[in-house]
């Protein structure tokens, strides 16, 4: 048995949060210590995960770094392992979390220690989601992530935080109950919840549809897909900046990841059967929410709705069953993870200064915040999918894949590209350009050093992967290939058995 590197990455933030717990005092020096500890832990974790990427063998389609331990007398196995798809999400998580820690400086005024503990716990749980190779373990991590998020919104949120927190909880819980039932059914039928074993066994085609729907109900809420998306804008609006960032950048990706790993992987026949449903809901998400985003008056809500639209592309791409579509979806998720994080941080920057998220408060910021304007422009462009940014690579590959599968769907989805440009540019114009009419804005400062640092760190990969997405694409290629082969093999053999 080698060094349990995955468990280390999962556990390190939790251990860090334990340390935080024992640091006493909440003022001055100890506050500083708390921040440094959190930062140190998360950054270390980032470097370990980069090292993991370095160790990772891109040419193999097998799960790697597998750890398998019996738990509860063999009823559940603690089994973790990664393939090319999971590793990218792990790195996304370990990349975004330290930035969240950095960003709390200005926004969190009370109970900083508790807040950081929640964030570190979140990190552990989210990494756990992307590593799990056992359904029960996956479920625990997946739903466990709800709790810190619920607390982050409920305790550090805005005025309507309780309403939003409960809405968030209600929606997501409703979905996950059905998933739990499905997992129990799988355990009772096949005697195991080990994903790799289930891949080998292959789930009976007759059960697949119901099981698929149960998983779908959970993932659809978390994605979020239309019409169960309404919790997201509320949650974002009320959540503190770091909470919004984690929510948009990583929490939403758990659902996309779930679709790839479970819906496509475990239930290929049902996935094929339900593809039209997914297409329909994705298109509604892309077009409908883009229109809604156009009319938003609150910046955070606008970005939240744009997240729904972007995730619409993701679900569309996943179910195209083409290499371009799936790889595009993964790139799109990584890209959206970066860009939405950056956009929420950018809104946070303004909120910290003026305590307003309303678009009409602003206008003409370019003359007082030139640096901010440049960075925000980069993220705006990436959000609208301009070539040369990571957003383009994802979106274009998805559409290309979709086009190979269905002309009509791809054509409608393409309209979203026009709408996306409309709401993002209009937002940018109303906030940054024009005359500076609001006198209060004259006094505000441009980005300080730590803000510049945080936003530039996100801008770099956004641009780099726009020009050179090879590292991402190479990492996932074999795994995606393998997934599609299995999927097609299942379809063919199912077709053969049923005439």
């Amino acid at each position: 048995m080698d060094f349990p590197i995955l468990s280390s990455i999962i556990l390190l933030p939790s251990i860090g949060s334990l340390f935080l717990f024992f640091i006493k005092g909440s003022e001055g020096k100890s506050l500083q210590t708390i921040k440094y500890v959190a930062l140190f832990v998360t950054i270390t974790n980032f470097f370990i995960s980069i090292y993991l990427w370095y160790l990772f063998d891109e040419t193999s389609s097998n799960f790697q770094f597998i750890e398998d331990k019996e738990w509860l007398d063999g009823f559940i196995n603690y089994k973790v392992g990664i393939d090319g798809i999971s590793i990218l999400f792990i790195i996304l998580t370990t990349f975004i979390t330290p930035l969240c820690v950095l960003s709390v400086n200005n926004s969190i005024k009370s109970r900083l220690k508790d807040f950081l503990i929640a964030i570190l716990l979140m990190e552990s749980l989210m990494i756990g989601v992307f590593c799990s190779l056992d359904l029960i373990i996956f479920y625990l991590f997946f739903e466990g992530g709800l709790i810190p998020m619920f607390l982050i919104i409920g305790i550090w949120g805005g005025e309507r935080r309780v309403y939003s927190a409960f809405k968030f909880f209600l929606y997501t819980l409703f979905g996950s109950v059905l998933m739990l039932v499905a997992i129990i059914v799988i355990y009772l039928t096949y005697g195991t919840t080990d994903i790799t074993k289930l891949y080998e066994i292959g789930i009976n085609a007759n059960f697949q549809n119901l099981l698929w729907l149960a998983f779908f109900s959970s993932f659809a809420v978390k994605t979020p897909m239309w019409p169960v998306h309404t919790w997201l804008p509320d949650a974002h609006v009320e959540a503190p900046t770091a909470g919004s960032v984690l929510l948009a950048a990583i929490l939403l990706k758990m659902a996309g990841y779930g679709f790839i790993r479970f819906s496509i992987g475990l239930f290929p026949i049902a996935s094929e059967f339900f593809t039209p449903l997914i297409y329909f809901l994705s298109l509604v998400a892309i077009i409908y929410t883009s229109f809604v985003a156009l009319m938003q008056e609150d910046m955070k809500k606008l970005i939240a709705y744009s997240s729904v639209a972007h995730m619409g592309y993701v679900t569309l791409g996943i179910f195209t069953n083409t290499q371009q579509g799936l790889e595009g979806s993964i790139v799109q998720m990584i890209s959206h993870g970066l860009v939405s994080a950056a956009l929420f941080l950018s809104v946070g920057v303004l909120y910290d200064r003026t305590h307003s998220r309303l678009i009409k408060t602003y206008g003409g910021l370019v003359s007082v915040m030139p640096k901010y304007s440049i960075l925000l422009m980069i993220f705006t462009l990436s959000a609208l999918g301009l070539p040369g940014t990571s957003g383009f690579v994802g979106e274009f590959l998805i559409l290309m894949g979709a086009f190979r599968d269905n002309f009509l769907v791809a054509t409608i989805a393409c309209f979203g590209v026009i709408l996306g440009a409309a709401y993002m540019l209009w937002l940018y114009k109303r906030v940054i350009f024009g005359k500076l009419n609001n006198k209060d804005l004259l006094k505000i400062d441009d980005l300080n050093k730590s803000e510049i640092l945080v936003l530039s760190i996100i801008a770099l990969p956004t641009l780099f992967y726009g020009f050179y997405p090879e590292p991402l694409l190479n990492t996932v290629e074999v795994s995606v290939n393998n997934l599609i082969d299995t999927y097609n093999y299942n379809l063919v053999s199912f077709g053969a058995n049923n005439g």
């Binding site: 409960f166 309404t230 809604v292 002309f407 590209v417 440009a421 540019l425």
Partner: protein
């Protein structure tokens, strides 16, 4: 060398954009101008090599996207077509850079402006040197972005911001078609590389596909979709509305982006894809029709506009229409020739008008000018040369290219071709009228400006006049010098080689003499005619206008395109957005979904609390009820 051509402007943009505080405004101006000029010199060397040494190359710089069967590289492809574009882009760009140093001398944001110009040059170069559709698309969107930045350069102006967004969005509509075209190409050929695609085209000729419920020929569909992209970028009718508004940007921008280079990208696209378009009669006819409609309709609008830049903008729109219908009749080389000459005289006209605007302290209305030709002799001379070249006055550059378009359209022999030729002739007449109207109203007649005294009008600086002179040389001689190379029936194939495909060789022979002579005659006669109309006897003009008030208003309001789009696209979009948000999200999903669930739970729990009243007799009563229920149940069983 190719790498230098491409990356010098990018490096200049980065230096000027990020390090201006360190090195000062003046250094930024010098670096950007110098780097782009070097790039221009190198481009000319390449052009020379292509002409005389048959130079060809396709350099792969790095891989870009690699997903499954999709393999896309960053590349630099040099052939006759891209060499011509290289020269046009870098040459005009370097002149505009130099001109801008003078024009923008009072602007506080000079380095930013220069950085955008250089960045634009880089994007445009990556567009023309692509060896695949995706890099083309990269450059395509890149120039669109720079255009967006530059139109909205004066960000405090509300109209400039609106125009910038409009330009970007209208182009996105075009890109929508373009992207679908690329998807379709990938769908059929499994590649987006030009050479690989073009080689496979003949196998696809009779392939039918069902697209959105309509059965159509695959090649036709690809061509039409690509052409929609070209229509957006080159401001053809229906997707033209952004170009006149784009004049909100500084004038050097209009000269470079909205006249000489970016807007011709659509023409370039069609010419580049000639190996596909040649197989689609439908698409070619469609292009001809769109091209000639645009040429005509834009010219009619230009007749009555009063903003000096908008007149030239509509003129650009109209000339692009000429280029398109040239491609539509299969005369791709002639289209490229007109693109080439047009770049010189249209840039000249724009920069000249910039000089006028500068002199009038940012006044753009030609009704508030007049009589200043003695005050601005040099600018006046330059504008006259530009106008002569544009209208196709004999022996100037526009004469060779525009008449060639009309002739080749006629020679094509099909109905659309012949109609296009006649429309072309008539439009050439209109072009002459509106161009001379501009000259006469701006430089002759009475002085009409109340705000600035005529004594204060003075000629622009040396830095601005040098680029004008160089462009004027091009406007005069580019046609005569390069006509053999570009369009001569014997030489032209040696020059273009495989970069342009002619399925049917251009028909030799000559059209009837009347077709050849009528345009120059009309154009020449229009000078005294316009002089009479716009300077000598204005009463006739007013009476014509009064008699046809409705037509006049129709033209003045630009055929009401903007109003029409406002009603059918913009307002409904906002309404739909509001409806989805308020009526569906909030009042349906939330109201009946989570909110009603939480309400129900609340009601239930309220009900439940009533049971806990604290009175023993109530509890006892409930117990009794339960107990008897269980008993009954057991007894029945």
């Amino acid at each position: 060398m190719e790498l230098l051509i491409l990356f010098l402007p990018l490096i200049a943009a980065i230096i000027s954009g990020f390090f201006s505080k360190l090195i000062g405004d003046r250094t930024c101006e010098i670096i950007t101008s110098l780097f782009v000029s070097i790039s221009a010199v190198l481009s000319i060397i390449i052009f020379y090599n292509v002409i005389f040494n048959d130079y060809l190359s396709d350099t792969i710089i790095a891989s870009w996207i690699n997903s499954g069967t999709l393999i896309v590289n960053w590349s630099i492809k040099i052939d006759a077509l891209s060499a011509v574009m290289l020269v046009v882009v870098t040459l005009i760009s370097s002149l505009v850079h130099i001109y801008s140093i003078g024009y923008m001398s009072h602007d506080p944001d000079k380095p930013r402006f220069m950085a955008y110009l250089s960045l634009f040059t880089f994007a445009m170069l990556s567009l023309v040197t692509a060896d695949n559709f995706l890099q083309l698309f990269f450059g395509w969107e890149g120039v669109g972005l720079c255009s967006y930045f530059l139109i909205g350069f004066w960000y405090k102006k509300e109209t400039a911001n609106a125009a910038a967004i409009k330009a970007f969005l209208v182009n996105r509509v075009g890109d929508f078609g373009f992207a679908l075209g690329i998807f379709l190409i990938f769908y059929f050929f499994g590649t987006v590389n030009y050479t690989e695609v073009f080689n496979q085209i003949p196998q696809l000729i009779d392939k039918k596909i069902i697209f959105l419920g309509i059965s159509c020929n695959a090649v036709d569909l690809i061509c039409l979709l690509l052409f929609i992209g070209a229509m957006g970028k080159s401001a053809q009718i229906f997707l033209h509305t952004w170009l006149p508004d784009a004049m909100e940007g500084p004038t050097p921008v209009s000269a470079l982006i909205h006249a000489a280079t970016m807007v011709t990208a659509g023409v370039f696209l069609v010419v580049r894809c000639s190996p596909i378009f040649e197989y689609s009669i439908l698409a070619l006819n469609f292009i001809t029709v769109v091209g000639m409609s645009t040429a005509f309709f834009a010219a009619t609008i230009a007749l009555v506009q009063t903003d000096i830049k908008k007149i030239i903008a509509y003129s650009t729109c109209s000339q692009l229409g000429y280029m398109f219908f040239a491609t539509g009749v299969g005369a791709y080389n002639v289209a490229m020739f007109h693109l080439f000459t047009h770049a010189f005289f249209k840039a000249l006209l724009f920069l000249g008008s910039g000089s006028v605007i500068h002199a009038f302290n940012n006044e753009q209305n030609i009704n508030k000018m007049g009589s200043v030709w003695k005050k601005l002799p040099y600018t006046w001379l330059m504008m006259i040369i530009g106008t002569l070249a544009l209208t196709g006055f004999p022996l100037l550059s526009g004469f060779f290219s525009k008449d060639a378009i009309i002739e080749f359209s006629y020679l094509r022999g099909n109905t659309t071709g012949i109609i296009a030729a006649y429309v072309g002739i008539f439009t050439a007449f209109l072009t002459a009228i509106y161009s001379w109207r501009l000259i006469f109203k701006t430089f002759h007649g009475q002085y009409n400006n109340d705000e600035i005294k005529i004594e204060k009008i003075h000629e622009s600086s040396f830095l601005m006049l040098i680029p004008l002179s160089i462009l004027s040389v091009g406007s005069v001689f580019a046609g005569y010098v390069f006509k053999d190379l570009f369009i001569d029936q014997l030489n032209t194939f040696n020059f273009w080689k495989d970069s342009i495909k002619f399925l049917n060789p251009l028909s030799p022979g000559h059209p009837p003499l009347i077709i050849i002579y009528i345009t120059p005659i009309l154009v020449t006669l229009s000078i005294p005619f316009s002089y009479y109309l716009f300077v000598k006897n204005k009463k006739i003009l007013t009476s014509i206008v009064d008699a046809n008030k409705s037509i006049y208003n129709f033209l003045l309001n630009k055929w009401y395109f903007d109003e029409f789009y406002e009603i059918i696209f913009i307002k409904p979009s906002k309404k739909i957005g509001k409806f989805f948000w308020k009526s569906i999200d909030l009042n349906t999903i939330d109201r009946f979904g989570p909110d009603s669930i939480s309400k129900i739970i609340k009601i239930l729990s309220l009900k439940a609390t009533k049971f806990q009243s604290g009175f023993i007799y109530q509890y006892a009563f409930i117990m009794l009820l339960g107990f008897s229920a269980i008993l009954t149940f057991l007894i029945i069983n």
